[in-house]
Amino acid sequence: MDPLDNIIKGCLKGDRKSQEQLYRIFSKRMFGLCLQYANNYDDASDILQDGFIKVFRKMEQYSGKGSFEGWVRRIMINTALERYRSQFHLYPITENTLAGEDMVHEEVFEKLSAKDLMKLVQTLPPRYRMVFNMYAIEGYPHKEIADMLGITIGTSKSNLSRAREILQRKVKEYYHSNENIS
């Protein structure tokens, strides 16, 4: 039997050791996921904690269909979205849009580390960040994003477009335009 199955069985029985083992296996990947959705490190820690508590409380709902990691990932994303929905939001007043000729070259992105890219994602306003993460990184379609966030498909597409523009602008500001590359 797959060792993970044994651990899951132990968790279903409420065995503390099995629960800790499960946490150790998935915590790094899930924390990486939480950092994408959170505003900062502390926020991500809270989302990770709340998410794993839900995983252990709802373990019997895992039907065995699909990967367990995918199921845990989905719970983490939902936890992050709940947190986002509960926040008081005041929307930014101005948003500058990049003109087409100012788009960042791919080589610029390649100079950035994963940690740098993570920090850029965290600078996005929450509603853009959610849509960008779910579409670009998780691969959710706009219809599902709209259902989960309670927005229209058009708003989801619009938010995605804005998120990309903001990320490109921030990369450009961070690494001084494509003139240094060419």
Partner: protein, 509 residues
């Protein structure tokens, strides 16, 4: 453009799709603590369910036993009698009250009834001269031979007190009749007839006992006795002197109550709020609340005036904390830049912690409003996704209580007066905190560092009105004071108390 957009998605997906980072150890500690709490709550819930099931089973079982019991009836000790077939006349209904409870009566000419000695002779005129308001008693007639019995008629007078029969009005010199025979139809419910008499249910105490059907104008016939439903015994008493009473009772109560707390500390300055002006006491910013309590109880009376009560009650206690600011951290600001804003706020009862969906919410006490406004403005300027609000915090402490209360009937009448006192074990089942602003209430977290089990003293008094022999209404103001502090590890001792006006109903058996 589309290709360049896809480049953005692809770059971030490739870099962040499998991004991993070690979380802080405090995360697992928090998860472990919450799961341990879940296990504890689950155990407490099972204890509560088992206790409630036990109370319901005891009540149901007792009620079932009650309906299986035969009605109590008296037995007339009439001596040996002939079989019903041999007695063609003079048959009477009989019932036996306590000898001490006999009514006042006067002698009047008594027709004779055939006793065992007369049965064979056949000359049994029967009892035909009884009038309503009279009772007949079988008495030994020495002149009629050994074992012969005659029927003596007595006129009953209404008792001085309803339901109380005065034995004192017997004619001087008259011997107490050995039995009291009451006219009426067997099997009838309680009916009042002239003279203050009541018919009582009839049962056959002994084989061969002759029961007379005393319908007017009809010859009495022996009838099989049947058990009837219980009615109110003619010697029913609500007042003093009654030897009969119902030992068990089940009931329910509910009450609005006022709840607050008493605080003390060995360190006097601890009674003032932390971080702020030292002259500001917790008592200045905290207030009591009006909430509620209710539950079911089971009572047992080992003696008539004393009863022991237990049961299961739910009580909500709490208080408000005025002038509180909350701000949602939705942006990039570092909490260290806004020292007056805290994730957890201490008050006299414990740490109020924003949690769950509001775990990014920070709290502050804002009697130093200039400072808070400045920090809040800074938070807003730093990030467009932060908003602050001002209002009050509402703390709830929800308890499941298991009381052990002694109740003493100072006045034992239909309208009685009770004194009660005891102790209650209280299990904490909720500690939510709400933010109230302009009448709107929003859950923002809970109070931490509270003890799970507390003990409280219970004192009260009240009125009890008996609607019937078994059904009682109660109205009781009750004061509860928590004997131990509800918070853990704090230098402030906080003892909640409540004053509630309980109304309820109970059924005794």
């Amino acid at each position: 453009m589309g290709g360049k957009k896809n480049i953005t998605d692809r770059v971030f997906r490739d870099s962040l799709g499998n991004y991993q980072e070690s979380p802080p150890e405090s995360v697992w500690a928090g998860i472990e603590g919450t799961l341990a709490n879940d296990r504890r709550k689950s155990r407490m819930a099972w204890i509560g369910r088992i206790a409630a099931a036990a109370v319901i089973l005891i009540a149901a079982g007792t009620i079932w036993i009650l309906f299986q019991r035969t009605p109590e009836t008296g037995v007339v000790s009439t001596g040996p009698l002939t079989e019903p077939a041999q007695q063609e006349s003079a048959q009477q209904e009989s019932a036996q009250p306590e000898p001490a409870d006999e009514a006042a009566n006067t002698e009047s000419p008594a027709p004779s009834v055939p006793g065992p000695g007369d049965a064979a002779s056949g000359d049994s005129p029967g009892v035909t001269d009884q009038e309503p308001g009279q009772i007949a008693s079988q008495e030994t007639d020495p002149s009629a031979g050994s074992g012969a019995q005659t029927l003596a008629m007595h006129t009953l007078e209404p008792a001085a007190e309803p339901g109380v029969l005065t034995p004192d009005a017997q004619p001087p010199g008259a011997e107490k009749p050995e039995g009291i025979i009451v006219t009426g139809q067997p099997g009838q419910d309680l009916q009042q007839i002239p003279g203050g008499l009541y018919t009582i249910p009839v049962s056959s105490p002994e084989p061969g006992l002759i029961i007379a059907d005393r319908s007017a104008g009809e010859d009495p016939e022996a009838t099989e006795l049947t058990e009837t439903g219980e009615g109110i015994d003619v010697f029913e008493e609500f007042g003093e002197g009654s030897e009969d009473y119902n030992r068990w009772a089940v009931g329910g109560q509910m009450a609005p109550l006022y709840s607050y707390r008493n605080i003390s500390s060995s360190q006097g300055n601890a009674l003032y709020t932390a971080q702020r002006q030292s002259s500001q006491s917790y008592n200045d910013i905290e207030n009591g609340i009006v909430s509620y309590s209710g539950g079911v109880n089971l009572n047992y009376s080992p003696v008539k005036r004393l009863s022991l009560q237990s049961g299961l009650y739910y009580s909500r206690l709490g208080m408000t904390v005025q002038n509180t600011w909350i701000a949602a951290s939705g942006g990039q600001y570092e909490r260290v830049n806004f020292p007056s804003l805290e994730v957890a706020m201490s008050n006299s009862s414990g740490d109020i912690q924003a949690g769950g969906e509001k775990s990014n919410t920070v709290l502050a006490n804002a009697w130093s409003t200039n400072e808070i406004l400045s920090d809040a403005s800074g938070a807003v300027a730093g990030d467009a996704t932060t908003e602050t609000k001002k209002g009050d915090l509402l703390q709830h402490f929800d308890y499941i209580e298991v009381p052990m209360i002694l109740r003493y009937k100072v006045v034992d009448r239909r309208l009685g007066f009770n004194l009660l006192g005891g102790i209650s074990t209280n299990f904490l089942v909720g500690s939510n905190v709400y933010f109230e602003e302009n009448g709107d209430k929003e859950l923002i977290g809970s109070t931490s560092d509270l003890k799970q089990v507390n003990y409280s003293s219970v004192l009260g008094m009240g009125l009890q009105y008996s609607i019937s022999r078994r059904l009682n209404l109660m109205m009781e103001p009750v004061f509860r004071y928590y004997l131990n502090s509800i918070n853990e590890g704090s230098i402030i001792d906080s003892h909640p108390y409540s004053l509630g006006f309980f109304t309820g109903i109970s059924y005794s058996f």
